[in-house]
Symmetry: C3
């Protein structure tokens, strides 16, 4: 693989990371789900040890949640190309939110949360997708860490 | 258009977004104005519904304002190439400031503001420029949303 | 130099900036030291006027410090290619930390600090490296600016 091929793969994966944030913040839930492979694994930053499995279960997280206003500030996107069809990456996320979903007037946030996503990307027939995306939170300034209600196995796409 | 041409356009537009922030924060006002087309439209994040028209009016915003210290943290820069001569993009801005313009010693900020810019870029004889740049603010942590004094039509480049 | 060569150099330097942050936050101290040239100059953001000289002295800053948890959020990475073997750049850093190094549960930070790095990059036989990296802090929200204990000439790599 030459440097230009590598650069194009890095760019494709970087775009997934940015699209995840924008689709999330602007409530484009179907487009958000389409960033993942059918057989993906995804863990939310506030609950990294209870991943969700499969595009449908992941999409439902966003379709079914309360429509709060969020801003996912994505930085430090560092991609390592493994092969023509696989890459890995880590990026940092800085998140702030308000329960009122109306973006038209500025609102006070409930603390700023600093975390990361550890990603595995694969090339599919429909282009590059998230195969695995594991979030985590390391620090916050203001606010407090919310208690996430536990998801059921069914919600998490776990079939017995 | 091939992937490499697309990548080079994305990069050119991404650089405009970053230069806007650095020229703004380091008070390079003429260089800042030169990032816009002659016939540009620009709305400040705190006053998105009262845009300024034309490079001269936009440049004067920065030339005539009080020389406060600002830091415009730019992230999530996602560019969509429309053609060889046009692109669109959204980026996130996280802003903090202090009334004292002296950058040589650290100062406490007056709150952190989280917003976005929605951009239209065009290729001109002098390279890629902002044709349209509409700011907005969604959230803040600490501080309060300042009241912007209304600009006159003349200041906004509106000729009757 | 054509646009693609320039883009590849920008990308190489951008990766150094991102690796500096990740190696720093994830305590990969040897990998961090290897980002610098043998004869580098490095000034920490909180003490920009007392630079360290040489890869060994720079690596020792990180090897010998208390293992606090940090998150270095890197943004606004703007690289200017000077030649095939040299580039310059400025990037913004937003930093938050907690004295407890355990990243496995989220912790409250001690303020958010906003600064910049001014960099000189050079191409070496082992790829692109930091030749010079001068940090600075402009603003903070919450917390207070820590007093850095003065480093000795020996620690700073200054030989009489």
């Amino acid at each position: 693989m030459d440097d230009i091929q590598r650069l194009l793969i890095e760019r494709a994966c970087e775009r997934l990371v940015l699209q995840f944030a924008q689709y999330n913040d602007y409530k484009e839930n179907d487009a958000l789900a389409a960033l993942f492979t059918d057989d993906c694994e995804f863990a939310r930053p506030l609950d990294p040890t209870h991943p969700y499995y499969g595009r449908t279960a992941v999409g439902n997280i966003f379709r079914n949640r309360k429509p709060i206003m969020t801003q996912h500030v994505m930085t430090n996107i560092l991609i390592e190309v493994v092969s023509e069809d696989e890459a890995r990456g880590r990026s940092y996320v800085t998140m702030i939110s308000n329960p009122d979903p109306d973006r038209s007037t500025p609102k006070e946030g409930g603390g700023i949360f600093f975390g990361a996503f550890d990603d595995v990307f694969v090339r599919t027939a429909e282009g590059w997708k998230f195969k695995k995306r594991i979030g985590s939170v390391a620090l916050h300034q203001g606010g407090h860490i919310p208690q996430m209600p536990p998801a059921t196995d069914e919600e998490r796409g776990i079939t017995k």
